[in-house]
Symmetry: D2
Subunit: 300 residues, 4 copies
């Protein structure tokens, strides 16, 4: 997790120069050379490079290149033309360019449980995330004061039985154009396919089990019933198939026969917030690339 | 895992004195006092005591007490009478007494994969297990030489398509009266209910996934397909419900998108042999008590 | 970590009945029987029992027994007499009796870093600790607002160069009679021997390394210089020998060559707060018993 | 740990084509582009690329590039000329080219303890290491039979008190020209500076503690005395400063107050063999690059 280090930089000067280039597509000879040549010819210095191929012979290729370039914002248009020419037209690749001084904008959905939500707000305050929390949306009013203490707006949108549609329409009005991704921090409502399709930004969820074990509701009770010796948490992108989306990060903690279901919930809460925090930090730095229903995560 | 320490003992003297008393039953007031009083009145010194109640109000109680007693073999009959009187008759409890210098006798079933099998044989040779491997039974001849090098008999019992019954009858003849428990060290055959019922001793299996995730065949391929970030192994008692028996021990190891299915198999092999070794060591020391479809494990 | 479960109890009724008896002393035959007999004769039902002997032949014995007893507060004096008679006089043991509905009172010392401090305040608010934070004392004013938001008093006591004595005298006036233990949550001042001796309650510190590696200041920089592949944190009781007191809990996290010293600090912060939280929770429940310069920890 | 996968290859055809290029030197703009251009112009397809810079502005740069190239052995001379011209002369870098079908040759030094030694021999037999064990050298005859069972020569070279020189001279005669690296698998003799300098190949040692904690002899006893809650193992390159060489890999396992020093040794043995096996596998695949007294490890 090589997070940005703003404190060691002269603000407004060098930070503006750092960028990340994300490339993916059908693997073929010469991609790494092409990418590094385009960047070098633009005057960029490559800071770090991660790449992965699902199969060098006939697979999918992924690369994340962090570079430094004077006046990136100024020369960006020219660089984009070169990327289109050399990577898109020349090699049939997709590419995406991000400037490192542009934090991503996130919304957090929560219900009544606060541990994942507060941990993210606190990490943002500490400067650990390359992301700003634009708003918190909840189907309960309970956590409003805690959230607003961090200077973040809290929108209470009740979800009435049998009428999720009205709530989701309000969600979409609040979110439209305002956020780059959404985090479900133990939000206890299932999102409709319409919402997921309509919102148009990635959604990260934390599931309180080591998926694919204990899919669905009540995973800690199921874990107790099955007598497992480790419990876990899973951060994943949300798709229409509940608990089936691409996994970003997972971790576990040891438990024993002496732990009650409540103990599992408490121990699990510590894993949930760590796993979700890692997933959000990595996503915010464009370290997570989707590969079908899996992910390529360039982080350690 | 406080294993026996034969090197620090005067053989034939103190080892003969150590015993373990396993008690279980409906929880009620006074059990701990009754057990410790019976032992103390018999002249025993309690070395360690672990107990667990699923619910002090109306649950199931489990206790494992290790004690030292001069001439345990001599006074055993008398002690057993007191246990029957005070614990069975008086409190309605089940009890079981084991002498620590009596290693359990085990059979190992294997197929072609050697890592779990060799690890157990090597740990027995090092004196890490309170158990002796009496025989190895396999449906393939491949591992005979490796096993016999350890001085352990190897019985090749082929399993013909559509005729598992003949093989299992031979298994039962080999095992009858000779072993106290069986370990399936990556044995790639499903045992019939008749065999499980007929053999009359506990059977420990190692499943190459973090159960209940990836039940059934090919768990590493399933793990790769699902894109999990940790893989694991599970040691459990075998019941007629495949992969559903009481879990004894589990552990995991981190993997990444860069790991192929073959990499998962290699990394997983290290977890499998560790998890199985722990489960076998604990079972051999009577540290694992079955509680319905769960286990109480008095080990750390 | 079987924490209290207030939600499942009828407040004012059963909680008042639960107690814990801590016994230690020279090991000898009959201690477990004596303890359980005293409790059973008093009408108590033993809920859980942990014991440890450094050496059954001639070592030190430790036992923590949790029990339920109607009207514990009423019959306490009588029970204490029996414990004095049977355990202290009869067997030469020390004993200590605590009622589980009496949370311990704690003070937290902090400086400018907030992660350990906020984590403890947040866990208290969630009901995870059997302890109340009575006050936070700091040599800096920075964290006052965050602490007071939790309804906890914040006392800013500056420490002037060359005059630690004046500050420590004020600390002692604030603490005297008000707290049962003290937690140093990344407090960046060394306590004098006079203070440690004078305050008369246990002090828990979190050291930001895997002790005994990297004793003293700047452990993360030292870890980076040495090129270690794991970093850790250690919670320990404070003694006059800096970083040498009895260790309560430790944990680690994996790092790589790509992590800068700042990255180590960020990753380490997550380990620090988890390790300190576990140590504080266990201490508050009397699960940590000092044994010379080590500890016996009855927790999992 | 993306180990070789011989089973999925047509032997003698594709394996011969895979190579790894290791580059290091003073970081400057254009290195990645230069390396990938040289390889691409030679007709190579880059399979994977890992790079690290200690500081993009003025640090040291490390890169490991795995590539596939038809007739690598044939065109190798030509490729080397291009690497000299473009990387050494042009950019002042060091480079090293290895063909992936050439396993490294290793010698293992051992004493009486077998767990690390047997684990390496067994992993070689399974095909997990890109290395062949050429010989085992020991100052004791005890393990000869176990080693020779694997078809590996065992040389017993006693070390007489006060005359290590004679033994080390024999070691050098046995090793000269025959091995690419040496592994000390719990070899209980300190190597002289003359030997380390004279042997001219890297030496990997496994230290039975989490360095820099518990340097020197008897680390498990020291760990017990200090009361640590985790014990570990460290694989490192041997330098003249005992236990101070660059660390390759470390790991830990949890222990409790109930574990005796012997228990720590047994639990530690499992960590030692895993940590050493990882370090040896990574070294054999040129994934470990020395950076002063640290290492850059391109593995996961």
């Amino acid at each position: 997790m090589t997070l940005a280090e703003p404190a060691s930089r002269t603000i407004g000067e060098r930070v503006a120069e750092e960028g990340a280039l994300i490339v993916s597509g059908h693997d073929r000879t010469g991609i790494v050379a092409a990418v590094s040549t385009v960047l070098t010819q633009a005057g960029a210095n490559i800071v770090s490079l991660d790449q992965h191929s699902t199969n060098p012979a006939d697979g999918t290729f992924f690369q994340r290149t962090v570079f430094r370039l004077h006046d990136l914002a100024v020369v960006r248009t020219e660089l984009e033309k070169a990327l289109d020419r050399e990577l898109a037209d020349g090699l049939g690749l997709q590419w995406r360019l991000v400037e490192s001084d542009q934090p991503k904008r996130m919304a957090i959905f929560a219900s009544k449980t606060d541990h994942c939500l507060l941990d993210l707000l606190w990490r943002q305050q500490r400067g650990e995330l390359k992301a700003n929390v634009q708003m918190v949306i909840s189907n309960h009013p309970d956590l409003a004061e805690k959230v607003r203490w961090f200077g973040v707006p809290y929108f209470y949108v009740p979800v009435k039985d049998g009428d999720k549609k009205t709530a989701e329409e309000e969600h979409l009005r609040l979110l439209a154009g305002n956020v780059d991704f959404i985090v479900l921090a133990r939000y206890m409502q299932i999102l409709s396919g319409d919402f997921i399709g309509g919102v148009g930004v990635p959604i990260i969820n934390i599931h309180h089990s080591f998926l694919p074990a204990f899919i669905g509701a009540g995973p800690y009770q199921k874990a107790k019933d099955r007598g497992v010796k480790l419990i876990g948490a899973t951060a994943h992108y949300v798709t229409e198939d509940l608990d089936e989306g691409p996994i970003i990060e997972q971790d576990v903690v040891r438990v024993t026969h002496a732990d009650t279901t409540r103990d599992l919930m408490r121990r699990g809460a510590d894993v949930e917030r760590l796993v979700l925090a890692r997933a959000v930090a990595w996503h915010a730095e464009d370290r997570v690339l989707r590969n079908g229903n899996s992910t390529v995560v360039f982080a350690s």
